[in-house]
């Protein structure tokens, strides 16, 4: 068995500014055979390593079937992500992964699928959108509900028209009013409140964003008739080893790095509202 601590060298082949403080880095493993072998499932993450500063767990925001290119959309939040933000195309960093559980795209066949994202939370869901676009016939109605604190936080906004044209509806909201914003104002659950749901029993919802947002999204979804077993959330805790051996990311009985980050809502619902767990 290979050593789970072994890092691989990855080169930044493209860097795109997104929303304020957020950029997408397309990485490519420098080793040919590793590059060909690398595969991930939507919702999984990599550990990205800046020598001397450490690792950060970053979800993969790319297309699972696009070989060799591994995009990560990263917000500057701590030492490591701050250091990554100063890197440019051609620079290399370390990578371990992919790790963790994934969104249940295999359960989406012939179902209405709703993605609910808050801010940077759209990044781990983007691989599901790529899957919808590639396999549009397999899904029934595809809807993305996207909320941000203000309109400047609408991640991947320039892609929304393309997604809509290809059959993935996108509804957006801003938590606060803003100059020049004529769209919906209010938290993302207000979009879910009003979303036409002809067949909630067959709907499947995946959500990623702040924990409190995901909690209220799940409550709204249940109130709209979506089963708890058809709701999936992606949780976040301090991740250090990514292989279930360091203890940091524990949440109740779960290690978020290997049992998560994606959980079926009913598996974590009872512990989500216990403070400081």
């Amino acid at each position: 068995m290979s050593n789970p601590w072994q890092l691989s060298s990855a080169r930044i082949v493209e860097k795109t500014a997104e929303t304020p403080g957020v950029a997408t880095y397309v990485l490519q493993l420098t080793d040919d055979s590793l590059r060909r072998r690398f595969q991930f499932r939507p919702g999984q993450f990599n550990m990205l390593y800046v020598p001397g500063l450490g690792e950060a767990a970053i979800s993969i925001s790319g297309n699972p079937i696009q070989e060799g290119l591994i995009p990560h959309t990263i917000r500057e939040a701590g030492n490591v992500t701050h250091a990554i933000s100063s890197l440019s195309t051609g620079d290399t960093l370390g990578l371990r992964g992919p790790f963790g559980s994934s969104w249940p795209t295999e359960l989406c066949e012939d179902r209405d699928v709703i993605l609910v994202a808050g801010g940077i939370g759209l990044a781990p869901l983007r691989p599901v959108i790529f899957d919808m676009l590639s396999n549009r016939d397999r899904y029934r109605r595809c809807t993305v509900l996207m909320g941000a604190r203000d309109p400047s936080g609408l991640l991947y906004e320039s892609d929304y028209e393309d997604w809509k044209r290809r059959g993935v509806d996108v509804l957006v909201t801003s938590d606060r009013p803003a100059d020049g914003w004529h769209g919906n104002v209010g938290v993302v659950t207000t979009l879910l409140d009003r979303l036409p749901l002809p067949d909630p029993a067959s709907a499947l919802l995946m959500t990623c964003g702040p924990e409190v947002m995901m909690w209220y999204t799940a409550q709204t979804a249940v109130a709209r008739g979506i089963a708890e077993e058809s709701i999936y959330v992606s949780l976040e805790r301090n991740m250090n080893c990514a292989i279930g051996l360091c203890g940091h990311c524990q949440f109740g009985p779960h290690f978020l790095c290997k049992d998560g980050p994606v959980f079926r809502f009913d598996k974590v619902a009872s512990i989500l509202r216990i403070s400081d767990l």
């Binding site: 390593y49 805790r237 051996l245």
Partner: protein
């Protein structure tokens, strides 16, 4: 010389221990055993039986440990101290990976430090159980820790049956002792003038062929039984494990966490002395020019606030929440994660807590509070 068969019990006199240690050394083992340092019995490299604590015993209570002279020459007349074998199998500091800047590019490696195989002399029943628990964590999951694996697979385990217990021991509640049942290569019981030796593995059998053993007498067997029974008889502390994982899951909002949180200093002692706690953090250690970096894994503790740090804040930012995390992990969620309790009943966390917090007492308090609530408002969901 006699050729022992696997299940038999053999006898060797006290000075046979010198021979045992010498044979292990000749086989290339770094022999680790109990020694006295700073007023406590700790595990360290030993050269001969002379290094073992002779005629000493330990007096342990909640928040208290001291060594006293015995009125005999016993070499293993005490129980467990602040060290456990975890220190050798899962070292407090180890390099998991390294990065080297070569001509402007980073190259990554996972260095393998040469390590003499260990022979552990004096592994108690609760410690065999603790090693089994850590095997489950580091070797049996989807990812294997290569540092633990290398050290564990080559280690030679010589168990010693306890012939007495401390007031903090509760291995009988956790069904881990005091008798060493399996998981060792050789098993010893110390008698007045010698040792009973049991063979627990093929490796143990092979090594025993180099030892001067003779069959036991009925009197020696009886003396061994008596001494081992004495340890069992001295254990009075109990931890009721029946329904314990669920009890804690149903009492995550108990006010008792605040009560124990007021007494807990969050000092991490309990997690450092615990033979099963495995939390760690990797930190970056760079050379002066920053061209060579060791990724050092160090023991960490869920009692450190920054252990649960996220950019949005510290997940467990209060002592009650951290004590709850430690205890519910150890006694409840460990079962979900690894199919076993994380507690082996060694009592170290009780002895080495500077404020004398005793997890068996805390569990009892939660159990009794839950029973009271249940009888008051039966039928409501108070999760």
């Amino acid at each position: 010389m006699n050729q022992p068969a696997t299940s038999d019990v053999w006898y060797f006199p006290k000075d046979g221990l010198t021979e045992l240690i010498r044979v292990l050394q000749e086989d290339g083992f770094d022999v680790i055993g109990p020694t006295v340092d700073q007023g406590a019995i700790v595990y360290a490299s030993i050269q001969s039986a002379e290094d073992l604590p002779k005629g000493l015993t330990d007096i342990q209570e909640a928040g208290s440990y001291r060594l006293e002279k015995r009125n005999d020459e016993s070499l293993f007349g005490y129980v467990v101290g602040p060290h456990s074998w975890k220190k050798f199998l899962f070292p407090p500091i180890s390099v998991v990976a390294a990065a080297d800047r070569i001509e402007g590019h980073w190259e990554f490696s996972t260095p393998e430090e040469p390590q003499r195989p260990f022979a552990f002399l004096g592994v108690r029943a609760c410690e065999l159980a603790a090693i089994r628990v850590q095997d489950q964590v580091f070797l049996k999951g989807p990812y294997v820790d290569p540092i633990y694996q290398r050290r564990r697979e080559s280690a030679f385990l010589i168990a010693v049956n306890c012939t007495q217990a401390a007031s903090t021991c509760f291995c009988t509640s956790m069904k881990t002792g005091p008798r060493c049942q399996s998981g060792y290569d050789l098993g010893l019981t110390e008698l007045k003038d010698g040792f009973l030796l049991e063979i627990g593995s093929e490796r143990g059998q092979q090594l025993s062929r180099s030892l001067s053993l003779r069959p036991t007498t009925a009197a020696e067997m009886a003396e061994g039984d008596l001494r081992r029974q004495q340890a069992a008889d001295q254990i009075h502390r109990t931890l009721e494990t029946d329904g314990l994982p669920n009890l804690l899951k149903q009492n995550l909002r108990s006010s008792h966490w605040d009560d124990v949180g007021r007494r807990c200093l969050s000092c991490t002692n309990c997690t450092m002395v615990c033979p099963t706690c495995f939390c760690s953090s990797v930190t970056e250690v760079a050379d002066l020019n920053g061209d060579h970096i060791n990724r050092e894994r160090r023991w960490d503790s869920c009692f450190n606030p920054e252990f649960s740090y996220m950019h949005s804040g510290i997940a467990r930012d209060s002592i009650p929440s951290r004590y709850r995390q430690w205890m519910t992990h150890k006694l409840s969620s460990w079962h979900d994660q690894f199919g076993t309790s994380g507690c082996v009943g060694c009592g170290r966390c009780i002895t080495w807590c500077p404020t004398g917090i005793d997890l068996t007492v805390e569990v009892l308090a939660i159990r009794e509070a839950a029973a009271t609530v249940e009888s008051v408002d039966r039928g409501t969901n108070h999760e």
